[in-house]
Each structure stands twice: as structure tokens, then as C-alpha cells.
Amino acid sequence: MPSHLHISVTFLQHTCHARLGKEDAAPNEWPPSPLRLFQAMVAGAAARWAGDDGSTRAALTAQAPVAALGWLANLCAATPPTILAPRAVTGQTVPRYVPNNSADLVAAKWSRGDVLAMFEDRTKKVFRPTHLLDGDTVHYLWPLDETSERQARQNEPTIAAAARCIVALGWGIDAAIGDARIIDEPQAARLSGERWEPGRVGTPGLRLPVSNTLDALIDRHAKFLDRLKDGVFHPVPRLRAFSTSAYRRASDVPPRPFAAFALRRLDDPEKSRPFGVENAAKVAAMLRHVACKATQKDRDYWAAVPGGSNMYVAGHTRDDPALTRGPTPPRFSYLPLPSIGSPYADGMIRRVLVAEPHDGDGRHAKWAAMRLAASDLIDEDTGEAVATLERLDPTDRVLRMFTQRSRAWITATPIVLPGYDGLKATKAAKLLSRACDQAGLPSGSVESFEFIGPPAHTGGAGRFFVPKYLRRWPLRWAVLHFTEKVEGPLALGAGRHCGLGALSAIDPRA
């Protein structure tokens, strides 16, 4: 029966103040990263085994914990743990002014007779707790194969002892207790909490210990103790011995790498070349044509991609009869972006993006960003260049409307429903649900949606150019609410790869 190494941490106060960085503005870290867990265990172990083998807190040298913690770091590096954590929300950022440790200055005033002198030297400390809503225990689970299970059983007593030395996770005020043991599959299945699955190692996300993390921590701690040595402040270097992995809940919408471009005039690249929003699919077709042409320069690169450029870039999935049913194979989506988001926005298309599927690794988007920049869009009818592509600043205001994180999204170009709805609301709702599934949105990620009329910038659905093979399906506009904030770009419907069904975030402050 498969088994798991299980380390649990129970918070005693239902709050955690861990952050993703030292600066005040750094977002809260939830769930606590495997590296944070490892550091808490190392700190506890250093105190627990202090004195053994002549070790001190500055140099954890007792053999048992060093070997076991080293093994755990390697296990994390090779197999990041699945994390089950209570649902949590971030509280507000509240500055508190706490006394600096400088009472000697005040006492000096007292000794001069100024008995009314007060502690004035205060320092700002910004608090932003993460509140745990439906539980207090975070579970870290490592699946074990035959070899790793043997090693795990050898190290289990020491790992358990180190876990039981955990006194806090996050800040010092986040009192916590830990435990560790090997459990079987049914026991693992009974653990409660939101399930956070690791992504690929090396992707941005939570920090993981690696093989040299323990040495680096011991070295860093020694430097911390010596930071005021010989009357000189020695800055303590940051810990760099770690890896990262993206973590996602089963209901989270995976991020979508993309390359964004501005459309510029050929004769004056300083100026935009706008296209009517109704021609979104035409602009997407021109963009796809440019991308297909660019693949000829990188035949070797695309030959290594399953389906090649024919499928991934050109989207010729119908060439393979096996792919006409079932999930769409990975491919680029070409999304023209209407200028929206301000009272003066005219809804014209001045920006486009090429997006990988959700959870893409970003390699192909990088390729598109590099190869398509400075390329010209060619009008299919006239064969003439009509615009040139310029790399777009990621902070561009309109681009942010389509790529920011938001819970509420609205169609900027109409969704082509993947079937005929017979003008019935219930059937349309079913088709929209299907469109969400087809777009790769995890089940349960969409909380609710409603159909709406065409937004003002579009001038009505009837004006939109729709590729011939999609003309039998209805065009619809909708607002979607997700259970959690979702990062764009998002596109839904049968036309999501060819310029239709792009969603823009609804700014909650608007």
C-alpha cells in the first residue's frame, strides 16, 4: 500500500504572519512554504540537540538530526510535498509602533534628573495576519516509493523529534506545534484542508529546501550571531540555497503565459494602428499567419513539440482525426484586445496577445515574444502589410485589464457558444459551462455567471466577423464570478483561439 511521510503543524492562535519577503508590502505566504517548515524544524532541532556532540545553536553538528534533516531537504528538492491547509484570508495591513530597544537613552535622562522622560524611540512594524478559517493544522505530504519509504522509516524518529521541536511557524507570535510520521493512503485521504498541489520545480511559487539548504542555514545563523562582532555591523546575507515550485489548489485556474504586442502604423511606428473590434477574428487570423511564418525559422524547435507548429501554432487539430473529439490539444490562442477601461476608450483594437494554454511552461510564449516582435500583419485580401507588432510593456493599462488578477470577469469580445442553445437560457448556461471546461478552467473554479447584453464598446454582436466554421453557433456576452481571484488572460468559447471570447477583469474599485 502506498505510504506518505506526513508532517503536520498546528497553529495555536488561528493566525499566521508569514510573508513572501521581508519588505512590508510583500504578500502573505499561505500555505507556509516547505522551506519555512524546514527552517522551523532546523531551529527547533538546533535547540533540542544543543550540547550534544559539543554542538551549539550556531553549529548544529549532532549527527542524527543533521543526517535526517539533510535527507528531508533532498526529499523536498526531488518531490515537493502536497500541502493540505485550512482556508485562509488575509487581514488588513496595520502598522504598529513598537518600542525600540533603547531604554538606556531614556535612563540616561532619568539619571540627569529628567524623571518625566518617556520612551519615544519607536519603530514601525507592519502587521498583516493570515486568518485561518476552518481549521488550524497544515499537513505536508510526501508520497513515498519503495526506496524512499525505507529511508523514511530510518529517519522517521529523528524527523518526528525535530517536528515536535517546532514552536512557531511564520513570526515568533505564530505559536505552533509539529508532528511527523509515516501514514498509509487511507490515513492520508482522511486529512482535511484545501489541497495544494506542487507544480514543476523551478517555477515561481513557494520555496523548497534543497541539498545544501541545511549547511546554508547553519552558516547564516552563525553570521547572524556575529553580526555585531568587533564593534562592526556585518550584514547577514540572504538565504539563497533554495528552489521554488508553483503551488495550486485543485480549483485554482492555472496561469497562462503570453506574449503581448501593440499594433503600430507602418509609416509612423510612434502611432497606434487601430482596428474595429468587430474585426477581432480577422486581426487574430493575421497574427496567426505571422506566427506560422515565423515557425519556418525555427523548424527544429517546433519539430520537438508534440503536434509540431502545425498543431500548436496553426491550430490544425482537425488534421488528426483522433483529436476532433475530447480535449483540445495544447495550442496558441490569438487574442486581440479592445481598448476599454476608461470613459473615453473607443473599444478599437490596438493590442494583441499570443497565449499559451493554462499551465503552459512559458517557453512558447517567449518564442512568440522574440520572433513576432517587429513583424508585419498582412491583410489576407490585399496581401499588403497593414500594421507592425511592437512588444508591449507588461504594465500597459489596457493589457492589465486582461491579465490582472480578479474574481469578476466580463466578455470584451463575444463568446461563441460550443453548440446551438435554441435561444433557451438553460441550454445556453449548459453550453457556457461546457465552454469553461473546454477552456481548461478547473471544475468548481467558476462560482456563477450570467448572460448580459453587448457592452457599449462593441456596438452589438451582429457586427462581429466570425470565421465560417463557427457561424452556426450563437454569440453571447457574459459576466463570470470565480471562487478565487484568477489571473488572465482568459478566453472562452469555440472562438477562444481565434480572437473571440476574450474576457476582461472587472475592477472592484470601478
Partner: protein, 372 residues
Amino acid sequence: MSDVLTKYDAWLNDDGPAALVIREHLMPVEGRDGVVFPATFAAEQGNDPNRFRGGYNIDGPFNGQPDGENVCLIDSVGSQANRVEPEFAKEKYRTLVPQITIKAGNEKEVSILDAGHRAGDALLRCTELAQELKASFESVGKGDAQALARIAPTSLVFGVWDSRDTQAKLPRILGSTIRAFNVRKLTRGAVYIPPLDYSALEVFSKEDKETAEGDKKSPLAQRGFVHNPASGSHGGIIATGGIRRDATLNLAALRLLNAGKDDPAPLRRYILGLSLVAFTHPSAFVGYLRQGCTLVRDPDKKPEFVEVHPDGKRAPAGITHEAALTFAETAAKAFGVGESKSVTFDKNAAKQDVTEAGKKNKKTRKTEKAEA
């Protein structure tokens, strides 16, 4: 060995519970629906429209709905610790810990129990205790907390960081926080009315009076010469979801206290005794917290006292304050309470420390410059 001394050893064993938790329900002295004034905090600086504007620390609503659950901080961990630690200077408990006072000048005297940073406080670095404390913190780093327990045992109970010297850090064993749930925030308005019409007495003109009234920045309003209305200021909260104190005694942290080559049991029992006395203190954590915030225990809601095991399991536990005090006295006697002292603040040592700090800073800047 007396039974009292070993009675709570199960809490100190490696296979024992990891923490003790008390959850007690509180209510305003006026009644459950009474208005309570929580701690207020300064506004966050900057231009972010979502920044904290100052006032009560209320987090939520958690489900995104205006009427969703929220939680309000009434008294923080640090604040609660500062309320209970000075209790060890009172007659009933003063023999449990060494009473160390620092004299600064002829009139000022500060107890170590009131020093903000406990044994790590800069105040103590400028007394004859400096070297002893330094050695104690260094011993802690080498796995022996006995010396520190003989000078400043409450530093082991409430946590300490020797930030100005050895950098030794000890975690908090005892933590307590008071929060209110599902609160409704109130505001209040008031107006200051001057006792005389100063413009009628020609102290200033009627025009000046009209301009100054309601203008908080006006010197006349600030000095109380004209009517000064104040509206929308903090009016307290009503906690519809109740008020609760969550206190934890982290036994896992207590077990990390070692005594070098000696048996750690007497040290751990001593610190456990002090922790239990504070943990079960009947009045220090509640009562009058600040103006408008006097809290008492809710007689209709039974407090929860449990031991939490490493695997998260909870089992009922309990100890009365009197039993905790008896145990603490026995454990203190067995360990040996450190000597009480009155030491003098050494102005010259402080000057030297400040001068050295200045030199250090200059030296650091020079070093940085050279490295650059």
C-alpha cells in the same frame, strides 16, 4: 521528591502534549451587548486607496459580503504579556522570581519585570548586571538556560531577544490574545463648547470666530476659544459574535530549555511553574484593559482548558491557579530562585555604549564605502 514537584511531569515529557490551551469567553462589564473600545492603531502612510486609515484593527468580512464574519483585535499578544508579567512583583508572587530593580537617578526605579525587552533590554546593559547577562545569554546558545533563569526567569516565559549584543533568541512559552467576533463598529460625535464667548469680550473678532469654528487646524479651535465639533471619531464596537481570550502555553518550547550537562527537569519545572501561574492568573489578563474596555468572564459560557497533542488531538485538562501557585513555589524552591538585587544605571556605561555604537556606525559606513 515530593508529589507536588513531579505532579505535572507528564506535561514535560517528550511524549506529552505539545501545548495547553485556554479559551475563555469574555463580555463587557456593562453586559454582552455593551460597547467595548478595542485598541486603536495609527494610519498607514502613503497614497494607496486601500491603505489602513487608522482606528480599530478589524479584519473581514471574510466571505466578501458586507455582513460577513469579521474579527477585531482587542488586546495583542505583546499587550497581554505586559499586563501579566508585572504581577510577579506583587506580594503573592514576588518570591517566585528574583526581584531586580534598576535605579536611574535619585527618583526613578524600574523593575526588570517592567523593562520592555526583558533581560535583553538596553537598560540592563548599562548596569553591573551586563557581564552576567551576557554570559547567561551565551550559555543559552550553548544549551544551558539555568543562569538566565536565575536572573530573569520571566524572559524564558514571555520570550526574549538579546538584540543589542549576543543575538540569542528565546521563543515565547506563554501567549494570550483577546479578540472580538462579528463586530459592529460605532462612531461618535461631540462638540467642545467654550465656557465664554471670547469674541463678545473682544479677545478676537466675530469674523475670526466664525472662521475658526469647526476648523480643527485653527489656533483658536486648538486652544479651546471657539466651538469645536468632532464627528465620526471612534465610538467602540458591539461584539455580536462574542469576545474570547485564547491563551496558549507552548510545552514544546518549554522542552527546548536545557541545562547543559545537568538534569533539565528542575529548570523546566521552575519555568513551567511560572508559566502556569501566569497562564491561570485570575485577573491580570482581563478586567480594566483601557478606558471603555473593562472585560469580565462570561458566567454562562464555560471556558475550555485542553492539552493539545502533537498530532492535533485535544484532551481536557485543568489546573487551578492555587494549585499552579503551590507547584510553582515547590519548583522554585527545588531549582533555587536567583538573588534579588537593586542595581544602579551607569550613565558612563550608557555613554560609552552610545559612543561605541556611533563609532560602529561610522566604521560600518567606512567599510561599506571601501567595499563600494
